[in-house]
Symmetry: C2
Subunit: 507 residues, 2 copies
Amino acid sequence: MMMTSDWLTSRVQASPQKTALIIGEQQWTYAELDQKVNRVCARLVDAGVESGDFVGVLMPNCLEYVCLIHALARLGAILVPLKTRLSAAELQWQIEHVGCKLVLYSEELVDELSIVNSQWSMVNESWLDGDLSLTINNCQLTIDNYQAVVFTSGTSGKPKGVPLTFNNHFYSALASGYLLGVLPDDVWLSCLPLYHVGGLAVIWRSCLYGTAVNLHPRFILEDVNRALDSLPITLISLVPTMLHRLLETRRHWPASLRLILLGGAAAAPELVERANGLERKQLTIDNCQLSIVNSPLVAPTYGLTEAASQLATMTPAEAAQKPGSVGKPLLFTGVEIVDENGRSLPPNAYGEIVVTGPTVIAGYFNAQRITDSDSSFNPHPSSFHTGDIGYLDDDGDLWLVQRRSDLIVSGGENVYPAEVEAALKRHPAVANACVVGLPDAEWGQKVAAMVQLLPEVSLTESELLAFCRDRLARYKQPRLLKFVSELPLTASGKIARQEVMAQLADD
Amino acid sequence: MMMTSDWLTSRVQASPQKTALIIGEQQWTYAELDQKVNRVCARLVDAGVESGDFVGVLMPNCLEYVCLIHALARLGAILVPLKTRLSAAELQWQIEHVGCKLVLYSEELVDELSIVNSQWSMVNESWLDGDLSLTINNCQLTIDNYQAVVFTSGTSGKPKGVPLTFNNHFYSALASGYLLGVLPDDVWLSCLPLYHVGGLAVIWRSCLYGTAVNLHPRFILEDVNRALDSLPITLISLVPTMLHRLLETRRHWPASLRLILLGGAAAAPELVERANGLERKQLTIDNCQLSIVNSPLVAPTYGLTEAASQLATMTPAEAAQKPGSVGKPLLFTGVEIVDENGRSLPPNAYGEIVVTGPTVIAGYFNAQRITDSDSSFNPHPSSFHTGDIGYLDDDGDLWLVQRRSDLIVSGGENVYPAEVEAALKRHPAVANACVVGLPDAEWGQKVAAMVQLLPEVSLTESELLAFCRDRLARYKQPRLLKFVSELPLTASGKIARQEVMAQLADD
């Protein structure tokens, strides 16, 4: 018997009355969610969606989005979550790249976009409360089917599509659960976007565990703080920027909180220490004040879209003892450090991080391959080369030295310099450009660019920034621009990135 | 990539320093256990054990047994756990039935047996501390391989071999963990024999979770109580008889205990209520006494060897609200109630319990089939007919009415022993009762009861029969009553119905 991929159906049978989702003041059980998903299924079928179709979704985190995730899975259609911050040109490219049959959007996000056409369909509350409902039991769907194609910033200009199977999510949820613990009353506060694997994974994980998600449209400091103080939140996923902002406002953690999963960028040991040092809420019982034992809370993690989120995670107790490491690879995940020739390196030697295991994708999206017979598409390759540099210590704990050469991580989002450089160079006045990440207290890193103009042209900073706004998502746009007559070069004639970084940091 | 079945290797990579096993005053980490398993592997290979061989094990619960379980899995050999209380003839039959290449035993268990021959090999401590060690990485082993053939008592004379795959255990562990919760510091007290699926499953579950097992040779009241009072036990598997005996001696549960998994026989609601009513240990902090909130602890479960242990389990909170039910089927497990023609029945109708899902075996051991090409042996049939009678209520909760083999048919009327037993147990002088059907010339079967009275009470047969007359239809009333000081029990602590039947038939 092949395992089903319609996990919501399995979950509803196992625990229909447990809370599935909490958004703001509202909450829904798994049975209630299931009913709404059946209505969404009817709408999708009405719109012509069939098993194997790619469906783009351009929406903020909301109930409708969660229902769409389950409904597409139930129909065997493949979710293509689109970043809400992309420019019209970026969106159009991704939609065409995978060949979306349909793009679903919520009104507020496409007001300014001129790309809505007959292929687009607006989702609103009526999708969840209509008279039509479709109960589907699709036995053909198995765990090896694709659940989503999530885009990551590419190193060579264009983003890459990461095709995640249900199997990838299944083993990610399992290994994460066994490592961090699962309790029947867990409530996971998720303020990461659902188009990010870190947000998407929380939905599947909680559905498999039968636990609740407290979903936020995005990280709004007051709302997250209010949820922490009013709901029995036990787990929360954060990127360092968010944790930083929470620490600025909170005097204690709620007693219910048992773990902060900290990913998306290298976590400074000081940040982890500060978060662990914040006291848990005190309880008062019969005039007797009881301090909850302040066991550490923060679990630093190293994740990749290509590995369905967490790859290695350190438990809070270990992280407090060994600050800076991201811990051991998850159960069934293998990590190897290799040199430039692909040879395996011993402990403590720096090299490229290579990962294997059931959460790792077979390869990037390739329109030709993915539509071929699945049997020719080996669902798991022997290994995935991350491009990130790190080492394994004597205990087998992983240390992340540097993200793929020049990757910039700003507010938890990956920005590949090549993509920003390509956009800059498209301006007719630009001869060359070099983009680097500079340290930033709030965002971790900020995007900075050094630009060499063609001779005898004139261009202002604001003109070039306006040019970027049409082509790049907001978080990718340079915060700092410097015009130079010539970019610094290395002896071999390549752009001297370290030198560019040093000069920009001086400014 | 196929999933490996060498879970100890995966576990050691993920958490080598976590505690794996606690026996008495000794404990071992996963890394330490792994080293011992490598030594056992060397011994097994030396004894000629190869992948695909069946290996009998006749030992009490001990470190050596746990090492053998992992070592056989690592070699791809199949464990045949032999009940320690069998007669020589019964053992011989089972060993020949599966065709064991080797039988491993510990000295104390075969003293009186005359069956030891060259096929038998004695295991002692030297197996764990020898110089020889074998590190094996057998990539050919997958989750679809057989882990063990466990014998169950057959209803029709000979025991049946239940071939369990790693896949069966994998999904059992997953669904159990997501239902009952997994915490990184869990310690599972296991006093069920390892030849019983309830004992065996705890080993695999804990290995996958990365948590600890506190293993007891068997249920020895003082030892179990001592462990509860000195170790941070969080979970314990018990059958009703064991729980009953614990309740007679304990004044409170330790604060660490979060769940009692109660299986192996129908749990009387009164027993569950008494166990839930026992207070948790009180903590004293700075002269301030704090009572731990007495949330319910007991999770009644309905398990089958044929489904790798739990099939349906009710969480403690639900069980306290709905005493008598065994709860909903586990995640990915399906339960249907069918009539005699195999037709599906609606809620609340009595019928045979039919189960589907990834924990369910493909069929009983059949020497011919199992040695054939595995591809012809469908690893999961569409359904398994349990032979047990029950119903699903409107909420989807399962109620176990009767194990079918015990059903008494008297004068054309169905009599469920459980109902008669419940009536007898309602008498204040009755401690326990077992009801069986005896052959009867006139009625086909007649109802017979063996009754254990509470100490130092007096009750006559006619008084108890009069008590029954008020509570049971005429055809359900016992025609034969026997008072005993103690009901006969099986090795795993269940009432030995066959023995009761034999004794009553003799009278």
